[in-house]
Symmetry: C2
Subunit: 478 residues, 2 copies
C-alpha cells in the first residue's frame, strides 16, 4: 500500500487548491500532455479514447436525426470572414493568420477557422437552389483555433476539437425547431451519458454568438460551484444567407432566403466531466464514456490459476462492457491507485481465496463500495453496478447544484452571495446591457442564461429596480 | 429514358479526356465542391461517407494490432520543424506559415503541420523513459497542409485528410517488422476492401520520405495506366530519436535510442478508387466502402402497394447491407442514371409486375448484369452479388494491370514503351541516382518502387549497362 499512498499524495486536494487539483488530474490520469506550441494540448490515448466515445454517441444521434457529415477546409480567406459584420467583429481579434505559403507571401491572408459559418455559407450558396434542396443538415468533426491569452487543458485551449452542425431550412419555424432540438440532444447527452445535470436557457444579447439572432446554451455546475457552458445552439435567421446571397426558389416560385442554425460541443466537455465528478483520488468517469469500464486486478497473480481466471473473466465480460485485465507485475495496491486515478467505474478483484468460493470483489469508483459477487452472476451484476455508478454520480452532481443554487432580490444580496461562494444565483433582470455589465463589475458575475423554465423570484430587476423582464441565472464561469 | 441519356451525356468519356472525365465524376457524383481557398476541397456528404467507411475499416484493424489514437496540435514551431535536417529540407518549401495571432505578430513562426513526426518526437521525449514504455504505437486521424502549386480533388490538394501512425520500438528489428506489417495492412485493405490490386516494394533513395532510412510503398495502377502511390510506411532508424534526444533505459540498464516508424494513408485513396473502377456512366464503388450498397428503385410507384413493398424490403435488408429507397418523384430512368453516377454496387427494381411474381430485378453496377431474384432469396442473393461485384472489380483491375505491365532491357525499348502508352515498366537498375534521373528526363518515367518480389529481367542496368542491383518498376505517376 506504500505505492498507492505515494500516488494519492501526489495530487493536490480539491479543497486546498481546486485549480491545481484539476491540472494534477489531467496530467496524472494521462489525458493530456503539453506541446511546445503555447496553449495547444496533446490528447493522449486515454484522453482521446474518452473523446472517441463522446463522438460515437453524439454522431449516432446526429445521424438518426438525419444529419450528414462533411469536411470543410481549415482556412478562411480574410474577405470571406468579413462578409458578415457582427461575425468578423467577434472573431477577427482571436484568429491565427497564415501569411506565407512556402517562401511566397500570400496576396490575401487566410485565417485558421475559429468556426466555420462562413465556409458553410459559401458552400450552401453553391448547392441550394430550390425548396427541394432543403433542409440541409450538415455537421463536421474537426479542430478549430482561437488565439487565447490564457489557456487551461480542455477548458480553454488555442486549438480544440469539436463538432459544428450547420443547417439551412425553408422557414424560420423549422430552423428554430432545429436549434431547440439540438440543444435538447446536448442536454440529454450530458444527463444520460455523462451524468451531468444541465440548465437549459437562452443567452443574453451580450453573451450570444457573434452574428446569431439567438443563442441557446446548456450550463453545468462544476464541483467548485462555477459554471461551465457545455454546449450551444444558435439561430441565425437569414442574416448570413443575405450576406452570402444564398437564395432558393420557394414553393410559390419566388426567391427566398433560407433560415440557418449552428450548434457545437467540444473537448471542453471533458473538462466538465473532470470537474463535476472527480475527487481527491483522481478522475471519476461516467460509465457511458469510460474507455475502460471494468478493470480486472488479479490478487496474488503468481498463484496457480489466477491469471487464467482473470483472462477467462475478461473473455466472458467483453461482450457486455469495456474490460481490461492488468497483469503487469505492479502490486495490487499500485494498480488500485492507478485505476482510481484514471476514474475506471468498476474494479474487479480476483484472487485464490475468491476462486475457492466462486466469487470476486467488485469496487465502485464513485463511493468505493465493495460488493462480493458470485462469479455466476457477473453478467447481470456488472451492468446493474455500472448503472448504479451513473446514477450515483448524477445524484451527487444534482445535489451539489441544488445546494449551491440561491436566489437574490437586490444587489446587496447578490454581491454577498457572490462573495461567500460560487454557485448559480437566480435573480430578475430588466433586460438592459447596463445592468448586466454592472452586475459583472460589482459582483463579478456573468449572466449564464435565461432559463427556459422561468421563475418569478421578484418583480423588479435585481440591479436597477425597474420592472423585470426575465429571470437570469448568474454565476462565475470557466 | 431521356433523363438518363441527358445525365450520361453530361460527363466526358474516359477515352476522350481522362482528366476531364475524372473531374466530371468527382463533381457529378457529389463527392467534392471547391471552396474559395485555392487548392482546398470540400468533402460533401457522399464523399465524406466513403472516407468514414475507409476510416472504420482501417481504424478497427489498427486497434486490433494494438495501436492507440491520439491528437496532436496542428501547428509546429519553426525551430521544432528544423530539428531533423533532411526532414526540414523536404518539407519547409511547402508549408503554410502562421505569422500573426489576432493583431499580434508572433515571435516565432508556426507552420501548419505537413506531417507530424516532429510533434510526435517531442511528445515521445516526454513519455519514453524505460524499455517498459516501449513500444509506443500511436496513430492520429487529421488533416495536413502542403502548399502545392497545382491541385486536383483527392489526388493532390493543399489540405488533405489522412491517418498518420507513429511508433517507437526497443529494437531496429521490431521497428522494421512494424513498417512491413503496416504496409501489409494497407495492401490487404486495398485488395480486400477496395478491390484494387497493389504492388508492394521499396522506394529508391530519391523517392523516399524526407528523413526516413527506408520508405515502403504500395503502388496501384489507374485505368489509364498511370501509377498512384496509395500508402506508404517509413522506417526511420534512430535518426529522429537522436535529433530529439529521445532515450530510454534498456534492459541492460544503459541508455539507448528507440527505433521509429511512420505510415500513412490519405483521402488520395478515393482518387484511386475513382480511377481504378469508374466508367463512362460515373463512379463505381467497391461494396465494402460504398455509402449505399443497394438502392431500391420502385417502378410505377404510384400503383398501390409498391412504396409499401419497397419500404418492407428496406426494413428486411438493413441488417445485411447499407440500403436506401429512392421514393422521390423523379422517373425511374433518372434514378437509374443518378445511382449509376454515384457508383452504387446494386440496384433493386420492384414494381407491380414483380410483386405479382414475388420477385425483383437486381442490376450490378460493374457489368450491368440483370438478375431476377425471388423475394424469398434476397438475404442470401444480395451478399453473394455484393461479393461478385467486388470480385469482378478486382479482376478487371488486375487484368488492366497485367495488360499494361511490360518489360524493357535497354533505354530504346523503355522510351518506346513510355511513348506508346502508360503502364508499369519493369527494368533493371544499377542503383545510381544519375540513371534514375536520366530515365526521368528521357523517358518521362519515375521509379515507382523496387518490388519485394524481384525478377531478374536482365543482368545490366537499363540505362547505363553496368551490372544491375535490382529490378525497378517505372511509370508515370499521379
Amino acid at each position: 500500500m506504500a505505492d498507492q499512498k505515494k500516488m494519492v499524495e501526489a495530487i493536490t486536494s480539491m479543497d486546498e487548491d481546486f485549480a491545481k487539483w484539476y491540472t494534477d488530474v489531467v496530467k496524472k490520469a494521462e489525458l493530456v500532455d503539453y506541446s511546445s506550441v503555447r496553449g495547444c494540448m496533446i490528447l493522449r490515448p486515454y484522453g482521446y479514447a474518452i473523446w472517441e466515445n463522446i463522438q460515437k454517441i453524439l454522431d449516432t444521434r446526429f445521424k438518426e436525426l438525419g444529419h450528414e457529415n462533411v469536411a470543410m477546409p481549415m482556412f478562411i480567406p480574410e474577405s470571406l470572414l468579413q462578409k458578415e459584420k457582427d461575425h468578423v467583429e467577434g472573431f477577427a481579434p482571436e484568429v491565427a493568420w497564415v501569411t506565407y505559403g512556402g517562401s511566397e507571401k500570400l496576396t490575401e491572408r487566410l485565417c485558421v477557422r475559429p468556426t466555420s459559418e462562413t465556409l458553410f455559407c459559401e458552400h450552401y450558396a453553391h448547392i441550394i437552389h430550390s425548396y427541394r434542396d432543403l433542409p440541409k443538415l450538415y455537421n463536421q468533426w474537426c479542430s478549430v483555433v482561437r488565439w487565447e491569452k490564457t489557456t487551461r487543458p480542455f477548458l480553454r485551449t488555442m486549438e480544440f476539437w469539436w463538432q459544428e452542425g450547420h443547417t439551412m431550412h425553408e422557414t424560420a419555424e423549422e430552423a428554430i425547431a432545429e436549434t431547440e432540438q439540438m440543444l435538447n440532444v446536448y442536454a440529454d447527452f450530458c444527463e444520460d451519458s455523462l451524468a451531468i445535470p444541465v440548465l437549459k436557457g437562452r443567452k443574453t444579447e451580450k453573451e450570444k454568438f457573434a452574428g446569431a439572432e439567438a443563442t441557446y446554451t446548456i450550463e453545468a455546475m462544476m464541483h467548485d460551484g462555477k459554471a461551465l457552458q457545455s454546449g450551444t445552439s444558435h439561430y441565425f435567421g437569414d442574416g448570413f444567407a443575405k450576406a452570402f446571397d444564398i437564395t432558393f426558389q420557394g414553393r410559390d416560385n419566388k426567391p427566398a432566403y433560407p433560415h440557418q442554425t449552428s450548434w457545437g460541443m467540444s473537448t471542453r466537455i471533458i473538462g466538465a466531466i473532470i470537474m463535476t465528478h472527480g475527487d481527491d483520488n483522481g478522475l471519476v468517469l461516467p460509465p457511458a464514456i469510460a474507455p475502460i469500464q471494468v478493470v480486472i486486478v488479479p490478487i496474488a497473480q503468481h498463484k496457480p490459476g489466477v491469471l487464467d481466471k482473470a483472462a477467462e473473466l475478461k473473455a466472458r465480460l467483453k461482450g457486455i462492457c469495456r474490460v481490461k485485465v492488468d497483469d503487469t507485475d505492479n502490486s495490487p495496491g499500485w494498480k488500485f491507485a492507478e485505476y482510481e486515478m484514471k476514474g475506471v467505474p468498476l474494479r474487479l478483484e480476483i484472487g485464490p481465496k475468491d476462486m475457492e468460493q466462486n466469487q470476486c470483489v467488485l469496487v465502485r469508483r464513485d463511493n468505493r463500495e465493495k460488493i462480493i459477487v458470485s462469479l455466476d452472476e457477473l453478467e447481470t451484476k456488472i451492468p446493474q453496478l455500472l448503472q448504479a455508478v451513473h446514477d450515483g454520480l448524477y445524484e451527487k452532481a444534482r445535489q451539489n447544484r441544488e445546494n449551491r443554487t440561491k436566489t437574490a432580490t437586490n444587489m446587496e444580496e447578490l454581491k454577498k452571495l457572490a462573495e461567500e461562494n460560487s454557485g448559480f444565483f437566480k435573480a430578475m433582470w430588466c433586460g438592459d446591457l447596463e445592468c448586466e455589465e454592472k452586475i459583472k463589475e460589482e459582483a463579478g458575475l456573468s449572466s449564464r442564461c435565461m432559463p427556459f423554465e422561468q421563475e418569478k423570484v421578484s418583480d423588479v430587476c435585481v440591479c436597477c429596480g425597474k420592472p423585470a423582464k426575465s429571470m437570469v441565472v448568474w454565476g462565475k464561469a470557466y
